[in-house]
Each structure stands twice: as structure tokens, then as C-alpha cells.
């Protein structure tokens, strides 16, 4: 389960934004469920309307 143990290199993979999704094709079944997908990084959606920043 834990592929990355103590070394940094085992954690690092290729560019996460461009990873291939072909292997997931088999599970695609025109799912009609609509998700709201937050694609922004952590700590970007946590500040208020009126305050400057977290």
C-alpha cells in the first residue's frame, strides 16, 4: 500500500497535471452524477469575502 517509504525519489512521479488516464477508460460509463470538482490547490479557497487572506 505504501509505495513511498523513506526516500524522496519513490514519491516523485511524472508531471501530475499531464498524467495519463487511459487506464481508467474501462471504468468510464457515462456516469450521470455531477460532481463539483475543486481543482485549485489547498489553501486557495479558505479566505473570506472581506478579509485579505489566510
Amino acid at each position: 500500500m505504501n509505495c513511498g517509504t523513506t526516500t524522496t525519489s519513490t514519491f516523485i512521479s511524472t508531471n501530475s497535471d499531464n498524467h495519463q488516464t487511459d487506464e481508467n477508460t474501462s471504468q468510464i460509463k457515462n456516469n450521470e452524477k455531477t460532481l463539483i470538482l475543486g481543482a485549485g490547490f489547498a489553501r486557495t479557497g479558505t479566505t473570506s469575502l472581506n478579509k485579505e487572506g489566510s
Partner: protein, 211 residues
């Protein structure tokens, strides 16, 4: 990330990270949810959009330097440079250890273990560019929370709620939460140190007669 912790989804995400999102049975998790935010799900937005093609994508953004400072003061500080309390918690509690491992895995994978301002801001900006380039325009909104309800509600086709836009999970709140969380680890650590000093003093007094 709080949801990962609350529902112990650590093994699922650790496995997903190891597989780079390939061959993952996303429905195990996402059939139970209607929305995602934050890491780790934001790393796999393309996979989720393929599986749920009618989904809407919200790209939250903010001024990169402020984002970096917020990250450095909270997530990077607690994950890469854990406090004594967190370190003790990780040693004692299995869940803490697994969660910390997964959180570190996310950061290393996302930032290639380089937490300098320049690298993190570069990754942050590249991610925004990538989402804007790859996500179909009609499914995407670029949104800053300071814009408030209107653009968000217009995009989602929902009425504007009759309440103020929430202000939660800021740096101070998160630091307080981490401090409370590490309280037990701190107590254990300082208790061990105190007892050790007392024990050594007692031994010195008993056997060396130096007092």
C-alpha cells in the same frame, strides 16, 4: 484534506498516489460525495471529470505569494517540519503516522520535495495554466473567494444563499487546530523529559552524593 482525516480515507489516497491515479476505482469514494476541494482530489481532477463528465470544475486561485505564505506557515510547516508534539504523535499513533506519510507523499509528489518559494509558486502557476488549458471552458470557472457568492452561484445555477460568505480555515485557525491536535504529544514529550531529569537527579543524589 479534513475529510480524508475525518473518514480515514488515507489508504485509498495513498494507493491512488502510488498508482498515479491509474486504474483506481474512484466510485468507491466519490459515489458518496457531491463535491471535492483541496488536495489530494485536486491532483486528479482530470480523472474525475472523465468519470463524471457532467461535473463542474472550480479552479480556486489567489495571489501566489499569499498562497505560498499560507502554505509555508501551515501545511509545509506541520508536514515537512513537524513539531515535537506531532513527532511524538506520529511515533505513538498508527493513524497519525499513516496520515502524515500520505500528506508528505502528496507534497513530495506535487512539489518534488522542493518547498522554496520560487518552486512552489512555479508549480502553483503551472497548475492553474494546465487546468485552464485542459478543462472545457463551459465546465470551468476560475474563482477567488473574495469574489463572493455571485460568480459561484451563477456558474452552478444555484440561488445566492441568504447568509454571508464563510470565513473559515484561515492560517490562525489552522495553526490553533494543529496546536490542539499536538497537545497530547507535547504533554507526553515534556512528561518524559521531566521524569528523566528527575530520575537522573535522584540517581545522582543517591549514588554520587553531590547534593
Amino acid at each position: 484534506m479534513l475529510e480524508v482525516k475525518k473518514n480515514d480515507l488515507v489508504d485509498f489516497w495513498e494507493d491512488t498516489l502510488c498508482k498515479d491515479g491509474k486504474g483506481v476505482n474512484w466510485e468507491i469514494i466519490f459515489d458518496k460525495y457531491s463535491a471535492t476541494t483541496d488536495h489530494p482530489a485536486c491532483m486528479f481532477w482530470q480523472d474525475l471529470l472523465k468519470l463524471y463528465p457532467t461535473s463542474k470544475v472550480i479552479l480556486t486561485t489567489r495571489e501566489p505569494d499569499k498562497w505560498y505564505k499560507s502554505m509555508a506557515d501551515t501545511i509545509i510547516a506541520s508536514t515537512i517540519y513537524p513539531s515535537i508534539g506531532q513527532w511524538v504523535n506520529n511515533k505513538i499513533f498508527n493513524f497519525e503516522r499513516r496520515f502524515q506519510h500520505m500528506a508528505k507523499h502528496i507534497l513530495i509528489r506535487q512539489f518534488e520535495d522542493n518547498y522554496t518559494r520560487d518552486n512552489m509558486v512555479k508549480v502553483f502557476n503551472n497548475h492553474i495554466k494546465s487546468v485552464k488549458a485542459l478543462c472545457p471552458k463551459e465546465k470551468l470557472i476560475k474563482f477567488e473567494v473574495k469574489e463572493g457568492w455571485k460568480p459561484l452561484c451563477d456558474f452552478l445555477g444555484k440561488p445566492i444563499p441568504d447568509c454571508e460568505f464563510p470565513y473559515e480555515n484561515n492560517t490562525k485557525e489552522m495553526k490553533n487546530r494543529l496546536n490542539r491536535h499536538n497537545y497530547l504529544g507535547n504533554i507526553i514529550f515534556y512528561s518524559v523529559i521531566s521524569f528523566s531529569i528527575c530520575g537522573l537527579a535522584w540517581l545522582a543524589k543517591k549514588f554520587l552524593s553531590i547534593f
